[in-house]
């Protein structure tokens, strides 16, 4: 194990996969400037600064991916993806199918999002669910350094187009990362971050931390929360969520993204359609509001789900059960 920041984990994953497979190349606005060492190691042909033009960056990635290369494109901030949307959604997501399976699109589109930097809604927009909605695309949004590295490496090796989102505020967070170039985390596998039998808290990216904090506070009240980090949003690991839900009977989904038609809605639907009999309380969604991200620190913070809100929601769900347990404890 080596301790490193998430930024370093991403960089290592890129370097290792470029070393492993010469078809992998990197392009974007300023990647050759910012990742100078990769440019020096792998040459200017494989680490390319591009003109400021997301539509052609993404389009070029799609064309190159279908033609034998494995592009990784850095599209900087998630809101800029809308310029790249045609290539990603209409081309990468659809042309495998529309061609009757003649083409693969092994490409990764990197972007950053998330609150904490006061940059406002044109840099901070958790729009990952838009891509979950689009057929043919995979979507990843990890929370730990080990997962960033392992999932990015797996995404680069995947033969499908992968949207890889980085929660900005996590970039400088450190974590232990397994050594060796074969540390891979398969796409489509959630992970149980904390085991508990009373309630299932599901999240991804930095709100996993919110759930873990809440679980800690709940523990002090005698409530055992299970925390699931989805890591991959699509394909969604339904098995892990359902297994937990069958045990706890209670589901709280926490996302920074807004709730309408988002991951929280999808998980609520999963619970209702596949584990209705196990549910002991209505599903709770704690999400960002249906509003663009504000720049002002106080408004930005006000939009976020907090550990306190999670605790409160769980207490609400567990109301009776907690009372019973307290009664038992006093007898």
């Amino acid at each position: 194990m080596t301790r490193m920041t998430i930024e370093q984990a991403i960089h290592q994953a890129l370097a290792e996969e470029m070393r492993r497979d010469e078809r992998v190349f990197l392009m974007g606005e300023g990647v050759a400037t910012k990742r100078r060492d990769l440019m020096q190691d792998f040459g200017a042909a494989r680490v390319r600064n591009t003109p400021l033009a997301e539509a052609i960056i993404a389009g070029t990635a799609v064309g190159a991916a279908a033609s034998g290369l494995r592009p990784v494109v850095d599209l900087l901030f998630a809101p800029f993806l809308t310029y790249a949307m045609d290539a990603l959604v209409n081309s990468a997501g659809k042309l495998r199918y529309l061609s009757g399976g003649q083409f693969d699109f092994p490409l990764v589109a990197l972007s950053m999002t998330g609150s904490g930097w006061c940059v406002g809604a044109q840099h901070n927009h958790n729009l990952e669910a838009m891509f979950v909605h689009a057929p043919g695309l995979k979507v990843v949004m990890p929370s730990t350094a080990a997962d960033f590295k392992g999932l990015l490496k797996a995404a680069i090796r995947d033969d499908n187009p992968v949207l890889f989102f980085t929660d900005l505020a996590l970039l400088h967070q450190e974590g232990e990362v397994p050594d060796g170039a074969d540390h891979l985390v398969p796409l489509g596998q959630a992970v149980v971050r904390r085991v508990g039998a009373d309630v299932t808290l599901v999240s991804y990216a930095k709100t996993v931390g919110v759930c873990l904090q809440a679980a800690e506070q709940l523990q002090a009240q005698g409530i055992a929360a299970e925390v699931i980090d989805l890591r991959t949003l699509k394909p969604l690991d339904e098995t892990t969520v359902l297994r937990s839900l069958r045990k706890t009977g209670r589901l709280v989904v926490v996302t920074e993204a807004s709730g309408l038609c988002g991951m929280a809605a999808e998980l609520a639907a999963l619970a209702v359609t596949r584990a209705f009999d196990a549910l002991r309380a209505p599903v709770v969604r704690l999400t960002g509001p249906d509003a663009p991200g504000a720049s002002s620190w106080v408004l930005e913070q006000a939009a976020l789900p907090t550990a306190e809100a999670v605790v409160e929601a769980v207490q609400g769900m567990l109301g009776d059960a907690v009372v019973v347990r307290e009664a038992l404890a006093t007898t």
């Binding site: 003109p51 406002g120 044109q122």
Partner: protein, 326 residues
């Protein structure tokens, strides 16, 4: 010295000094860890020269590097700073921060930090003027960078403006940088003017560090647009003297190139011109600087005293109140 009786040339120096003081004060403030801004240090002449050629009936669109445009248009530095600090007295109530400051009351509309966003909306603003919205005879000016000219929307915007004969002034501040990428990596050298000309636009390429040259070219373009209702294109050749945003160590910038442009500082050039003409002496210049610094100091005091927005207003302004504007 007071604004009364000041020549236009002197006023332009004063405006540039105010912009410089505003941005340098923010840079200092941000050293303490506050979110960084994109400054227009070195590009003040572009803003002052062009905006000074516009009238109140005209509309302006700008982008992430907007402070100079806003201040040149008469924006209150205190309210600008309050916005940058996310306070309630900012032009956008703290929702924007530095990157998308619009001030409708000043005719600075639809600021977008999505590069090319301003270019996508400008034809619509000009179309509305052409179709009778706003004061008669108004034109639209859109400020954007050389990087924005790399986006496909640049061509779409120019083409539509020409085809629909829109009263639109395109102003490209070609500062050789597109965030962390030098322009030479992204386009042929004279590409911007050639592209604009290729779309059938009359183009003037001007020294963007000479505020008088910029102003003269802008006056000419604006008059031409008002006369025939058709778009014009100004390419202002300038340079980004500071980093893309603060803080930025500019380690990727060629030191000689930077030094060459630092020697062409638009404020110093304008001061030298006035000093040579005898229209200004060294004491008066120092006094102008001090006045600018004092205004900005007061602006910072105002901004820091401004309240934070009420979190309960978080979802205000997401949707229109039906009927409120009809």
């Amino acid at each position: 010295m007071s604004a009364v009786g000041m020549t236009d040339t002197l006023c332009r120096l004063e405006a540039m000094l105010l912009i410089r003081a505003y941005e340098e004060t923010l840079v200092e403030f941000q050293r303490g860890g506050a979110p960084g801004t994109c400054t227009s240090v070195g590009q003040e002449a572009c803003a002052v020269g062009v905006v000074g050629a516009l009238e109140s009936r005209d509309r302006i669109l700008t982008n992430h590097r907007s402070a100079a445009h806003l201040i040149a248009r008469g924006a209150d530095p205190g309210r600008l700073m309050a916005e940058v600090l996310g306070r309630v007295d900012g032009y956008c109530g703290g929702r924007s921060g530095s990157l998308h400051i619009s001030a409708k009351e000043l005719g600075v509309v639809l600021t977008s930090t999505i590069v090319g966003g301003e270019l996508s909306m400008a034809p619509g603003v000009a179309l509305a003027q052409k179709m009778g919205q706003g004061e008669p005879g108004g034109i639209t000016t859109v400020f954007f960078g050389d990087g924005a000219a790399c986006e496909g929307i640049f061509h779409e915007s120019l083409n539509l403006a020409v085809q629909w004969q829109l009263p639109l002034l395109f102003v490209c501040e070609n500062n050789d940088w597109q965030a962390f990428v030098h322009r030479r990596e992204t386009m042929p050298d004279n590409a911007i003017a050639d592209w604009a000309a290729g779309h059938g636009l009359p183009v003037a390429t001007v020294d963007g560090n000479d505020v008088e040259a910029v102003h003269a070219a802008a006056l000419e373009a604006v008059a031409a647009i008002r006369a025939d209702g058709r778009p014009r294109f100004l390419e202002l050749v300038t340079y980004r003297l500071r980093g893309h945003f603060e803080p930025d160590d500019q380690a990727y910038v060629d030191a000689d190139e930077l030094a060459r442009w630092q020697a062409r500082d638009p404020l110093q050039s304008q001061a030298d011109r006035l000093l040579a003409q005898g229209a200004l002496d060294a004491d008066e210049f120092a006094q102008l600087r001090e006045q600018a610094a004092a205004r900005i100091e007061a602006a910072m005091v105002f901004a820091q005293a401004s309240a934070w927005p009420d979190p309960r207003t978080l979802t205000h302004h997401v949707y229109a109140e039906q009927g409120a504007h009809s």
